[in-house]
């Protein structure tokens, strides 16, 4: 028997509420987190090797300022256009008596599944004169506005109509209520969505490269391709990462503010506003967006595919690209999910500084534009592991770093939904930690983890810049084929790849979305 030494002893040996994480789990998670940070660290190392003088010199070049100006112009204008379009459409779809609101809501969300380079291909194939800023602005706006539309519409649906009624009863007209009450309340949500659009535009490679509008991403790719000295590419890559990090941080903060507000209390749908004489105008607007975002790509794809068919489709090339896409997407999804498992489980089950650090590190890919990850891994490949440079493993690592956030999120949510109490019961019945997890938690979490893996599969199948920079010679995915044919002006030859990509991208997304809502 030990004499109880009193509370002093208790303070000296602080006892954690939950026991610490198992060493093996922690080690695996730390390894994943470290892997996710390798590109970033190595990019910085490679850039700084040249010495601070060179770095400053590269940053001070007029070309750098031009790239920055173009990125800022494109990001700013697309974000503004998406905010206007997204908020306006959200209001029309949720708060008015617009005919066919449900159908429009479903249709107008679809462009989210269209990769930017597919949309870019269809527009430039129809109107080659759009190349440059107008084309890039148009295409990116049309594929990005759902990022604003969806959350703002959700916020409008979740918010109570009572406030508007109070404002009306206090003597304000419907127009003033819309501006001063309704839109005021969705402002945090819209701010977060707008920053996400800006991040998306800043990171986009597909649309700007097809439209030949040289922003940061395309500029980095060009200097990586064109010169033997890759230091400028590394320096510009670091600058892009810094810009993206600022946007990510701002988006995270804005979302935090928005999150505290959405969905509090039980919403009572407000009385829809009567459009009256504006109804035809509203319908015209909605239809115009649908035609531009979906109609034009669809018609263009059909037209060019038919044109290509008369000239003869390259079935062998198409088949090879499809197989290559399935291969890299399948392997990429498996590797990403396997790497995400320890981080997701750790984040769902344990707290602490290490856990937070590891999870944050795993989310690095969210703030890293694909071009910078590709570039960084090119350096890693050439310098550190030449054996795998331009080989499949390095490409898969690139995918894993880029899409870990998707997989970690899925694993974390799925595991967190399985009660800890069940694992404890299993342990009291004689199971060790690992056995308890495998026999009780895993069966429950598996559907959610599988859905996450499917999402990674789809996203890898559509990925362009990392594939372009890291693919083994001969591994031409659908996206790469579409990109190179379009770049060469061979629109008819490019069209079938675009069709298959749309099928790959859109159909499973719809199925996945349905499964998630069941």
């Amino acid at each position: 028997m030990t004499a109880p030494p009193g509370p002093v002893r208790t303070q000296q040996a602080p006892s954690p509420a939950r026991r610490g994480a198992p060493r093996a789990l922690l080690a695996a998670a730390v390894a994943t987190g470290a892997l996710a940070c390798v590109p970033l660290v190595y990019l910085a190392v490679r850039a700084l090797e040249a010495g601070p003088g060179t770095v400053v010199e590269i940053l001070a070049r007029p070309r750098t300022a031009e790239l920055l100006a173009r990125s800022a112009l494109l990001g700013g204008s697309v974000t503004a256009a998406c905010l206007v379009l997204g908020c306006g459409l959200a209001w029309l779809l949720t708060r008015t008596d617009l005919p066919g609101r449900r159908v429009w809501a479903a249709v107008l969300a679809l462009p989210l599944a269209v990769p930017s380079y597919v949309a870019g291909f269809t527009w430039i194939a129809e109107w080659p004169g759009l190349a440059g800023f107008p084309g890039a602005f148009l295409v990116l706006t049309l594929v990005s506005y759902p990022y604003v539309l969806l959350p703002v519409a959700a916020a409008l649906l979740a918010s109570d109509g009572g406030l508007e009624e109070v404002a009306r009863s206090l003597g304000r007209g419907p127009g003033r209520v819309l501006l001063t009450v309704t839109l005021r309340r969705v402002r945090p949500t819209a701010a977060a969505a707008g920053l996400l659009v800006a991040l998306y535009v800043l990171s986009d490679f597909g649309a700007v490269s097809l439209m030949r509008y040289e922003t940061f991403t395309l500029g980095i790719f060009t200097s990586y391709r064109a010169t033997f000295d890759r230091t400028p590419a590394a320096v510009l890559g670091c600058a892009l990462v810094a810009l993206a990090a600022v946007l990510t941080w701002a988006e995270h903060r804005a979302r935090g503010r928005a999150g505290g507000w959405i969905g509090r209390g039980t919403p009572r749908p407000p009385v829809p506003a009567r459009l009256g004489g504006f109804r035809p105008l509203a319908l015209l607007t909605v239809a115009a967006v649908a035609v531009a975002a979906l109609g034009v790509p669809a018609v263009s794809l059909v037209r060019w595919t038919l044109a290509g068919t008369s000239a003869g489709i390259d079935w062998a090339g198409l088949g090879g690209a499809a197989v290559a896409t399935l291969q890299v997407a399948g392997l990429g999804a498996v590797l990403t999910t396997v790497l995400a498992m320890p981080v997701g489980v750790l984040a769902a089950r344990y707290r602490g500084r290490t856990v937070t650090a590891v999870e944050t590190a795993a989310y690095a890919g969210h703030a890293l534009p694909g071009v910078t990850i590709g570039l960084a891994l090119v350096f890693v490949g050439i310098r550190l592991v030449p054996a795998v440079y331009q080989e499949l493993p390095l490409l898969l690592v690139g995918y894993a770093v880029l899409f870990l956030p998707l997989a970690v999120g899925a694993v974390r949510t799925a595991v967190a939904a399985a009660p800890v109490g069940h694992e404890e019961v299993a342990r009291s019945l004689g199971c060790g930690r690992t056995a308890a997890f495998a026999r009780v938690t895993l069966p429950r979490a598996l559907p959610g983890i599988a859905a996450g893996a499917a999402l990674v599969f789809l996203t890898v199948a559509k990925e362009l810049p990392v594939t372009l920079m890291l693919r083994p010679t001969g591994t031409d995915t659908l996206a790469v084929q579409l990109w190179s044919h379009t770049g060469a002006g061979a629109f008819a030859a490019a069209a079938p790849y675009a069709v298959v990509l749309v099928v790959v991208a859109a159909v499973p997304s719809v199925l996945l979305d349905r499964a998630a809502h069941r």
Partner: protein, 330 residues
């Protein structure tokens, strides 16, 4: 079984030297308000919460103590959580057989356990197809199947409807006794603790205040706090002189030295008779009986009456005390 156990969260001690002894085959109820540390105690015993000092022994084997920390899976402690926590992906039989090895799962043990809790026919059902009470009984069968040294029940009836609660409580008690299992039940419900357990331990602010059979905890509580916690009570401040305490009910004999203190009287000890100097202020009807609040000499007293002799508010009454009263010096 548990001696001098200290435990807590970083910077927040919860248990301050808990001692408990439990004879084999007995059912001990740990009774305490929320925040008293009863859940922490249970998690310490099960092995999910580290013990900062002291030791825990199960059947002579030290499972937690200085330098010893047997992991939960090797403690042989069965767990019945509040919500049952049945594994939704396994059938009832799959749940009950979870803690058994492959050979035992194919044997008769699962069926025996299901019979023990009165659910012999339901082995093939899925947990979602069972009522709340049936789920709790399956959870008990699952905990008992590997023949644990101790079964821990964490407020196992609180998630059930009030009507069902008493019935499931009896079934669980009967199953535990038939299995000859040693069990600890954690609860904040006084009736549950007094009605089901062989021994009741009252836990307050991380300390065991009293361990005794239910009758003793109710009839001779260790202090006024325990007395008012385990049941309704009338507490009167008194002064003792020459072995006698003067109260509104007249002088009461107490075996205590002279000095100030309080007496604790149970409502059912006070008998109400028609006519007298007390006035009925309020009658609270319970169905099987009623609580009558009377005023006597400026003091409000609660007493229990049977249905047939319930007075009306405003009636005059006299009070008569039956049985000994407990005195607690200040």
């Amino acid at each position: 079984m548990v001696s001098g156990v200290h435990a807590g969260h970083p910077g927040v001690p919860v248990l301050h030297g808990v001692d408990l002894e439990l004879p084999p085959g007995a059912l001990l109820a740990v009774l305490g308000e929320s925040g008293s540390g009863k859940t922490t105690l249970l998690r310490c015993v099960a092995g999910f919460h580290p013990v900062a000092a002291g030791e825990i022994r199960l059947g002579g084997r030290i499972v937690a103590g200085p330098g010893v920390d047997v992991p939960p899976e090797r403690r042989r402690v069965g767990l019945v959580p509040q919500d049952g926590s049945l594994f939704a992906h396994l059938s009832v039989a799959g749940n009950v057989g979870f803690g058994l090895d492959r050979a035992a799962r194919r044997g008769t043990r699962v069926q025996e356990m299901l019979e023990l809790v009165g659910l012999a026919e339901l082995g093939d059902r899925m947990p979602a197809e069972l009522s709340g009470g049936q789920q709790q009984r399956v959870a008990l069968a699952r905990a008992l199947a590997p023949d644990p040294a101790l079964v821990l029940l964490d407020e196992p009836f609180s998630a059930l409807d009030a009507g069902l609660r008493a019935e499931v409580r009896e079934q669980v008690r009967a199953a535990l006794h038939t299995a000859g299992a040693t069990a600890v039940l954690v609860t904040h419900d006084q009736q549950e603790a007094l009605g089901v357990a062989d021994l009741v331990a009252v836990l307050r602010e991380g300390r065991v205040i009293q361990v005794a059979p239910p009758r003793e905890v109710y009839g001779a509580p260790a202090d006024v706090g325990v007395g008012t916690f385990v049941g309704e009570a009338v507490v009167l401040p008194v002064a003792v002189r020459d072995g006698c305490a003067a109260t509104v009910l007249g002088p009461l004999p107490v075996a205590a030295p002279d000095g100030p203190g309080r007496v604790l009287i149970r409502p059912e000890q006070v008998r109400l008779r028609p006519g007298g100097s007390a006035r009925v202020r309020e009658v609270i009807f319970h169905g099987h009986d009623a609580t009558v609040v009377v005023e006597l000499g400026g003091t409000a007293l609660r007493c229990r009456t049977s249905n047939t002799e319930t007075p009306e508010p405003g009636d005059q009454a006299s009070l008569e005390l039956r049985g000994p009263v407990r005195f607690y010096p200040d």
